[in-house]
């Protein structure tokens, strides 16, 4: 039942997308009658072979802002130090130089603060998300993003955080923090995000 409902949501949203560039509700409903059968074929062709993966496709496909919101909810229950701008734990993004995975001096103390917290809270898990700017080739950037996340991980580990508490994922240049073209955007995109997992 749940999957059906999710599939319908997907149909509705893909109709808007694929039929035309307009997101107008009326257009979408007009197209709906013509294309509904075809839309279902689209889902089949994309994702239907495994219902579980189809469900995860929707439920786990939360946007970054929603994820952050979830993480923040978790944080609120963790402690006020995460939302206190004066506390290094409130900073969860580590920035890098172009084509480099070396952690810059300025960020060591921030990573150390997270290490201390995680070492004291063994049940707490984090995801280290590695990202790059858009320059160069995409798969190379996936590798570079992973190296960045692993650089942060090795500092965490050297200060007592266990491998069970940390997961490394690289998105390369696929999920920029800023969509613009130019150094001002790129420096925001060359980053590792330390994302606390909700218990």
């Amino acid at each position: 039942m749940k999957i059906n409902k999710l599939a319908l949501t997907l149909i509705a949203s893909t109709v808007v997308l694929t039929g035309c560039t307009s997101t107008d509700e009326k257009d979408a409903s007009l197209l709906d009658t013509d294309l509904k059968a075809e839309q279902e074929a689209l889902i089949t062709s994309g994702l239907n072979n495994n219902a579980v993966s189809g469900e995860q496709f929707i439920t786990q496909g939360l946007s970054q802002s929603e994820l952050n919101a979830n993480a923040m909810n978790g944080l609120t229950s963790l402690g006020a130090e995460f939302s206190d701008p004066a506390n290094p734990l409130s900073k969860q993004t580590i920035y890098f130089k172009h084509d480099s995975s070396q952690v810059q001096q300025d960020f060591i103390s921030i990573i150390a603060a997270h290490a201390q917290y995680l070492a004291a809270n063994r049940g707490q898990r984090v995801i280290l998300e590695g990202h790059t700017d858009e320059l160069g080739s995409r798969e190379y950037n996936i590798a570079l993003g992973e190296q960045r996340a692993k650089s942060v991980f090795s500092i965490l580990r050297s200060q007592g955080v266990t491998g069970q508490q940390v997961e490394v994922v690289s998105y390369g240049e696929e999920k920029p923090a800023s969509e613009g073209v130019g150094e001002a955007s790129w420096q925001l995109n060359r980053r590792v995000e330390i994302t606390y997992q909700v218990q």
């Binding site: 294309l35 689209l42 072979n49 946007s63 160069g136 080739s137 190379y140």
Partner: protein, 432 residues
């Protein structure tokens, strides 16, 4: 011959059954042509049938195909003095006066939903026929037939295999739904941008689509479960198989030329390395073992070697390694960034992303001499993909802050730009 053609059309129409979605279409514009193009005229085909006009304008598709190749320049319809539809109605002096070397005339006859097509190619100066075919197809095969006629003309005049019936795969991102979230889609389309259809879509990144050698499957990377995994998807029924979902990176998949193996990047042992997966017995062979980044494997046409990107020397450069395992040797020395190499079908050249001080362009290296020919103007060019006969390279570039597809002839003379209604289009891959 005709029965072979028909069999081919039948196969194509089977694939056509699963064209689910009318996507917004790509249109192609030639931004820089070449002066050496051979002039020819494709006269509008005659038509008789139950509708007032032919459902598909064959001559305009053939004209566009031949012009897109960069080797021909098709005469505009309004510059034609006469519009004969059979060879015996042609006044060759008219066409000589217009400076045309070749002429293509033909007609379409619809009877009870069957379309009888006949066409002839004529040498304007010798006043003789070079090629002539008669074939019968269904309505939904007319466009394919036009591409097939382009193939026949191109192959007759150049002696080379053509690409007009090939397809392209690419990734788009658009802002979708009420929350304007980024939606990733994997699409395939005809080589002229027509008939695009999404074969997968996700709120999480889709990446690195690549064709199986038989053109029946696409392999790609999906983050739909919040971490990377590699899938092979059949185009006929949409069924897909998860090929790799190890801890860490599962990326850069590429079919071997015989389709039996997959080269890919995995970081399950630590740093990203190149592996070869035997698709039959699932055996995994680890090819590179460096502590640096090794990624973006691509096969030589004989299947014996794999070119890949590595930063083991400090900066990304191309290296080559035997596909059975062995020693790597470095291929590129010019520029501070060379990545994502891909062999041409004759094995004589490698196309790559080539950069100096942050200016990223598409370049082709001659394998024998190691000479590099930079084809594009930069500065954000990436993801080059050779066409089957290696005449053209499709790549992605930036235009007004958006990713767009572009194409360039392998000699760098002709440039085309593909326009898409909205969103970002990238990572093109040409079927072979």
């Amino acid at each position: 011959m005709i029965s072979i053609l028909l069999r081919r059309f039948f196969l194509i129409s089977l694939v056509g059954l699963f064209s689910p979605v009318a996507q917004s279409e790509l249109s192609i514009e030639i931004t820089k042509g070449t002066e050496a193009a051979v002039p020819l005229a494709v006269v509008p085909f005659g038509y008789s049938g139950s509708t007032t006009r032919s459902p598909v304008n064959l001559s305009s598709i053939i004209s566009a195909d031949l012009t897109r190749s960069g080797l021909f320049k098709a005469l505009r319809e309004r510059d034609m003095l006469a519009k004969p539809t059979t060879a015996n109605k042609v006044n060759f002096r008219n066409w000589q006066a217009l400076g045309q070397d070749y002429l293509i005339v033909g007609s379409v006859n619809e009877v009870m939903g069957q379309y009888q097509i006949q066409f002839q190619m004529l040498d304007v100066f010798k006043g003789e026929g070079l090629l002539g075919y008669r074939l019968t197809v269904k309505k939904n095969e007319l466009r394919k037939t036009a591409h097939h006629i382009s193939d026949l003309v191109y192959e007759k005049l150049t002696g080379k295999k053509s690409d007009f019936s090939s397809r392209i795969a690419y990734i788009t991102t658009t802002k979708a739904g009420v929350n304007k979230r980024k939606l990733y889609k994997l699409l395939i389309a005809d080589a002229d941008g027509f008939n695009p259809r999404a074969i997968a879509s996700s709120w999480e990144p889709l990446m690195s689509p690549s064709w199986s050698p038989d053109g029946n499957k696409i392999v790609y990377v999906s983050f739909e479960n919040k971490r990377s995994a590699i899938y092979i998807q059949k185009l006929s029924d949409g069924k897909r198989t998860k090929i790799a979902s190890y801890k860490g990176i599962n990326g850069a998949p590429s079919f071997s030329p015989d389709g039996s193996k997959l080269a890919l990047t995995l970081s399950k042992d630590g740093s990203p390395d190149i592996f070869v997966l035997n698709l039959k017995n699932k055996q995994l062979l680890k090819l590179t073992k460096s502590y640096a980044i090794d990624t973006e494997p691509s096969w030589s046409p004989d299947g014996r070697s794999i070119v890949y990107t590595s930063n083991r020397g400090g900066k990304p450069q191309l290296y080559i390694i035997p596909s059975q395992g062995g020693r790597s040797s470095r291929l590129t020395f010019d520029g501070d960034y060379n990545a994502r190499g891909q062999f041409s079908s004759d094995g004589k050249s490698i196309v790559m992303v080539h950069a100096n001080r942050g200016d990223y362009r598409i370049a082709i290296m001659d394998v024998a001499t190691h000479t590099l020919n930079v084809l594009t103007a930069g500065r954000y060019d990436e993801s080059p993909s050779f066409s089957a006969n290696a005449d053209m390279v499709l790549y992605s570039s930036k235009k007004a802050g958006r990713s767009v597809l572009s194409a360039v002839s392998a000699d760098g003379r002709m440039h085309q730009s593909f326009t898409f209604d909205s969103g970002n289009v990238r990572e093109p891959s040409w079927s072979h």
